[in-house]
Symmetry: C2
Subunit: 349 residues, 2 copies
DNA sequence: TCTTCGCACTCGCTTGCCCGGAGTGCTAAA
DNA sequence: TTTAGCACTCCGGGCAAGCGAGTGCGAAGA
């Protein structure tokens, strides 16, 4: 039917939307009277009471205790986000300011990622974190094997975002600087432009052997590329944790502690957004959808940033479930857009 | 006189030491009766009361309110740390465990610094942070200028700890790969082994010009070296913030917020230990000595780690003023020692 | 002169209690 | 089906009493 939303008739949907909106704004459980006074619903508080009782039975609302107002449940927020709220767009002024602030960072991958995390944390007034592009999905650009001594050297690998990874190697046979240059050139000729994960060990070994090197050099090359692939794997920049303290949800210190622990484990942060890579569009996880009892009071807004067509990383905002979803989605998208643009500044062509 | 410590007679000193010790252990203001019951002082509580009144007049103790027990003041802690407490040493078992855990980190500067911060935070049960060696004080090892196109290239600089910094450059005149190799060799021959800060712009420019390059290349070289010098300037790895929440001092959420803000600003953390480089020995800052009203409830234990003779970075523990100073100094020293050893694994010789 | 004893006094913290406000559910009337 | 009225529930703040730990001081003892 035209006037049904997600199984709710039009009036129920509107009341649910209003309850969520009001609760997000005030943080207080919202009651029927307060609602009718503040919003023009066209019906009396008693009617709203009945509707709210229905919504509670349907699992959209919850009551902290008898004789308190209603609070949205995970399902209530979910319906609100999916079907009820009206999306926001950033104004031109705001876009301009984001762009300006992103310019402060130097053209280094780490710096622009960290800057975008700081910026988003501040603008959103919440904890923000940004994953660095996995080096696995970056392209290989250059390798340079540097001669240090007859039997040792250092391998430097440059990827598309300019991230250089270096590794020392030791050999069993003597080499000359020229040998190393020759091998560097061969590797560059064969692999430049490929995704790092496609530089498989067999091909690397083949090219190395064709240049007349033995197993020790094959091992050195393999180690160097493996280092470049796995380096910075989870790499996450987070900032704005202090905003969490503003939320009344965290009067309880124990909750706070488990969250701080999560923040310090980059791995855990990364896992929160890992599945977003499968379907790279803006996404929202609410409460228990985060898959952890410790985070059940929180919601997560995640937006991908891209390099060309490929989603290479995620910007996220972690905050109380009662967050202004539409606004934060707009902010995250705006920041992601600007971050995507700046990625071209660090690209090694 | 033999039996005076810091202007206090022996008995006063002992009572002060006991009060500090007891307060550190319990976190409760300590009263005269509790003290005489728990420790064998050989005098009655009334005597202790008189002595405590004197100590308060002398500024060593404070009273949260009338009819409460006494609490050490900054000066009280200071005397305790400087003259009263007995230093601790780590046991062989503990040393071994630290060494084992440090082995988990790969031989990369960032990883071992971060690992030592995590380890120290966990062992100390407090917030720990470790500054990365300033690249300014590291030695220059190699530069490699890589040819990308007729008028562009990438400069890679390797320092003594293997940290590679890279920067793109654009030129106004064509160059060949051979030109760049020649210049790289010249720079290496002239500067290898020097401290990075001693690679001054004038000498760099001279060498570049001697190789027959123009101002554009001089600029590129200067930018590359400047990037290596300033990169990671404040670089600080922190961990263990959640332990702060265990302290009763932080029931007040506002304090916590200002501290979290400080943690996220690496700059601020770095400033806390910056002056320790002037006199590189273990040091303790207590309360207001930290120079900030926000941190007045905290103390900071700082221990340098070294590369050879030079102190290249600092390990610190930030916690409540009532921290077990002797124990934490021992832990920090032990970790610093192990970190210093592992530095040799990442050294580029 | 220094130490100890005894005692009155001071606070802060906890407990129990009361009360007002906000909100609910139910019933009966429109 | 909606609305008005009403009794009931529960939270939270305010207030007073009681308790406990500790102090300061004067007087007695070594």
């Amino acid at each position: 039917m035209e006037n049904e939303v997600d199984g709710l008739d039009k009036r129920k949907a509107y009341i649910l939307a209003t309850v969520v909106y009001e609760y997000i704004a005030t943080g207080e459980p919202v009651g029927s009277q307060a609602l009718t006074q503040k919003y023009n619903l066209g019906v009396s508080s008693a009617t709203v009471r009945n509707e709210m009782a229905d919504l509670e039975a349907g699992g959209y609302l919850e009551q902290p205790h008898t004789s308190a107002g209603r609070v949205p449940s995970d399902a209530g927020y979910r319906t609100y986000v999916d079907a009820l709220m009206s999306p926001e767009e950033l104004g031109a002024e705001e876009r301009r300011r984001i762009r300006d602030e992103m310019r402060d960072a130097r053209a280094q991958l780490d710096e622009i990622v960290e800057q975008s995390s700081r910026l988003l944390g501040r603008l959103a007034g919440n904890l923000a974190f940004v994953t660095k592009p996995q080096s696995e999905t970056q392209s290989f650009r250059y390798v340079q094997l540097i001669w240090i001594g007859e039997r040792s050297g250092i391998a430097i690998i440059v990827t598309s975002f300019g991230v250089a990874s270096q590794s020392l190697f030791e050999l069993r046979n003597d080499v000359t600087p020229d040998d190393l240059t020759r091998l560097s050139n061969a590797l560059n000729a064969n692999f430049a432009g490929r995704l790092l994960r496609d530089c498989d060990e067999r091909s690397l070994a083949m090219v190395t052997k064709q240049c007349g090197f033995g197993d020790d050099m094959v091992g050195a090359v393999r180690t160097a590329f493996a280092g470049a692939r796995t380096q910075e794997q989870p790499g996450v920049a987070a900032s704005g944790a202090q905003h969490l303290l503003d939320q009344p949800e965290f009067r309880d210190v124990r909750k706070l502690r488990s969250i701080l622990r999560i923040l310090e484990e980059q791995r855990t942060l990364y896992d929160l957004v890992a599945d977003a890579f499968d379907n790279p569009a803006a996404s929202v996880k609410i409460g228990h959808e985060l898959g952890s009892e410790e985070l059940a009071d929180l919601s997560l807004v995640t937006v991908p940033y891209r390099f060309g067509e490929r989603a290479v990383g995620m910007l996220s905002i972690l905050g109380p479930r009662r967050m202004p979803y539409a606004r934060l989605l707009a902010l995250a998208s705006g920041t992601a857009e600007t971050l995507s643009e700046r990625l071209h500044d660090v690209e090694v062509k």
